[in-house]
């Protein structure tokens, strides 16, 4: 069984989805346990793979031994396995809230078990996206994940058909542009394999093709990166249960950001090419465009809308890391990515836990004095806020620390100024939020007691945010550093005998 762990890690949730769906016809409770079982079993398989990943590095696994596009090759790296653990943790939390949301919103039991099965399909496709190594399979699983996410949105939302249609259409158009980028590369290199593409582009040194394909591959994520920006997804935001928004914006959007990192740095080798000035300017504007959402988040009166803006705004830090592109900045970006997954998911789920209704308005005034009324809930929100602001010892602090270090190493003041201003603004907004939480007066709606069972997943996410920060040295050494481009890894370069001479 150990030889096939990459396959089991990717497809266990998919098998679990079928099981949960079929069992759901007979017993809803048993269906829920089957879904939990599939997610926990996947955790177990990932933990089994870690010793081999630590000792031997990346694990290459070919399905049926066929080369792409006929076969599927999976490559599990220590970082992608670690990221998979975060996806599973958030999926467990989302699935847990699906049950309580179903009770609160009066969701039919058969819809609930269908929702669970779709969540598992989504998890399976996202995990496979982390590990596939050819352009076409990447497109295929992206489409599967989009269809599953749309199904989940429609399943949990009463009036979600139009929003579901737009989500699927926008996402599919993005996936098509991604495929166009890969086909463009295929027409010039004759390969779809990501590692092979890197080698072919390196040999041909065809920078114009690389830039054109890179632009298409980056553009393809536009729809997902803007999810759930209130300007584009207003109706979806107001109607979708917050736990689902949290799962999609933390997991799906951040997996997309990780894939963009893989494509830019491990396939196209962006630091190795010189970019035209207009493209660099456009990249800077893009980072500032996303960072500007922090201002919009601070101006919101609705907690859910503020969290939605925070979700998109935090992507700005990732883009800053991609633009800087040096070792410190990329290490900070990957650390920030891990922290953002937990914080974004946690904040959306907190909105759901704190609101008395399944959907609708969630004004900040309802949170007045929450910290005094409910110590643990207040503390959990403080941990999430500190991670966004960048207060030690949270994951957000170390991510931003390395990111700023990377910017300063490049002496890139055009990136440093917006990043520093954003951190200053976040400090102010964070303390204003804390003041609201610990105000002496109490909101009337806080009389309702929040049961521990509802807070427990949030507290687990907050603990994970702290754990990431406290053990950042180990995470950097064992997971993040091996995920960086080869040029940034402290690897002894072997001397390869070539034509009787030792060359590097």
């Amino acid at each position: 069984m150990n030889a096939h762990l990459p396959l089991l890690m990717g497809f266990t949730p998919l098998v679990g989805a079928w099981l949960a769906l079929i069992i759901g016809f007979f017993s809803y409770r048993l269906s829920r346990w089957a879904a939990y079982g599939a997610l926990l079993l996947d955790f177990y398989f990932i933990s089994l793979s870690l010793p081999k990943l630590f000792s031997e590095g990346s694990w290459h696994y070919s399905l049926g031994g066929w080369a792409p596009p006929w076969g599927i090759e999976l490559v599990v790296t220590p970082f992608s396995a670690f990221l998979a653990c975060f996806i599973l943790l958030l999926a467990l939390a989302a699935f847990y809230y699906l049950g309580s949301f179903g009770l609160m919103a009066g969701l039919l039991k058969n819809r609930e078990s269908l929702g669970g099965a779709l969540l598992l399909v989504l998890v399976s496709s996202l995990l496979t996206l982390l590990w596939v190594r050819d352009g076409f399979t990447l497109y295929l699983f992206l489409e599967i994940s989009l269809v599953a996410a749309t199904g989940l949105l429609v399943c949990a939302t009463r009036q979600g058909w139009l929003d579901g249609f737009y989500f699927l259409l926008g996402g599919s158009l993005g996936a098509s542009i991604l495929l166009a980028g890969f086909l463009f590369l295929y027409s010039t290199t004759g390969t779809l394999h990501l590692d092979d593409l890197l080698a072919q582009l390196f040999i041909s040194k065809n920078f114009s093709i690389t830039l054109a394909a890179g632009s298409l591959l980056a553009l393809s994520w536009a729809c997902l990166f803007n999810f759930p920006r209130p300007a584009f997804f207003t109706s979806l935001l107001n109607q979708t249960p917050p736990f689902l928004l949290g799962f999609l914006s933390s997991v799906m959007v951040r997996v997309a950001a990780y894939l963009l990192f893989v494509l830019l740095f491990l396939v196209l080798n962006v630091p190795g090419i010189s970019q035209p000035g207009w493209l660099v300017g456009l990249e800077y504007l893009l980072a500032v465009f996303f960072l500007a959402d922090f201002i919009r988040a601070a101006r919101q009166k609705d907690f859910l809308h503020s969290v939605a803006f925070l979700s998109t705004a935090q992507l700005g830090f990732l883009f800053i890391g991609f633009i800087s592109g040096n070792k410190s900045a990329l290490a900070g970006t990957l650390m920030e990515l891990l922290g953002q997954m937990l914080v974004t998911g946690g904040l959306f789920m907190a909105v759901g836990v704190l609101s008395l209704k399944p959907t609708g308005a969630h004004p900040f005034s309802k949170l007045t004095g929450l910290g005094r009324h409910d110590f643990w809930m207040g503390l959990t929100l403080i941990v999430f806020t500190f991670s966004i602001v960048g207060v030690p010892p949270t994951a957000g602090f170390f991510g931003k620390f390395y990111l700023l270090q990377g910017i300063l190493e490049n002496r890139d003041w055009f990136l440093f100024v917006p990043a520093a201003l954003t951190l200053g603004l976040n400090l102010y907004s964070g303390f204003r939020f804390m003041w609201l939480l610990y105000e002496p007066r109490k909101s009337v709606s806080l009389n309702a007691h929040i049961p521990f069972s509802m807070k427990a997943p949030l507290m687990a996410l907050a603990l994970a945010v702290l754990g990431l920060g406290l053990f950042h040295q180990d995470i950097l050494r064992h997971f993040i550093e091996p995920a960086l481009p080869k040029a940034y890894q402290n690897l002894p370069v072997p001397n390869v005998p070539f034509l009787g001479k030792q060359v590097e």
């Binding site: 058909w161 139009l162 259409l169």
Partner: protein
Amino acid sequence: MAVNLGNAFHYIVPLAFCLAGFHGVFFYTNLLGKAASWCLFQMGLISFLFLLAPQAGPVPSALSLLISAVTFAVGIVLTVFCLKLGRRHKTLDANEIAGRGSK
């Protein structure tokens, strides 16, 4: 940067399909029109592969089949959404449906 205009003429059909599809997704107000435009974009990619096929062996033909299958499957899902929305709102005009939803 030298651009080979011969390539642009050779791939004019896929380019036209893709541009028309991309334009249609954003500018049609009819939901079915949007879905059809996305299919047109996919048709552009498939025709691009057909043009590549003679030089590159069996892979482009296999890929074009797979892309057709994906387009068909996602197209069916989008059509189901359109039918559901059309039955509920008696129209497929996106602005009209969104207007009714916000009331």
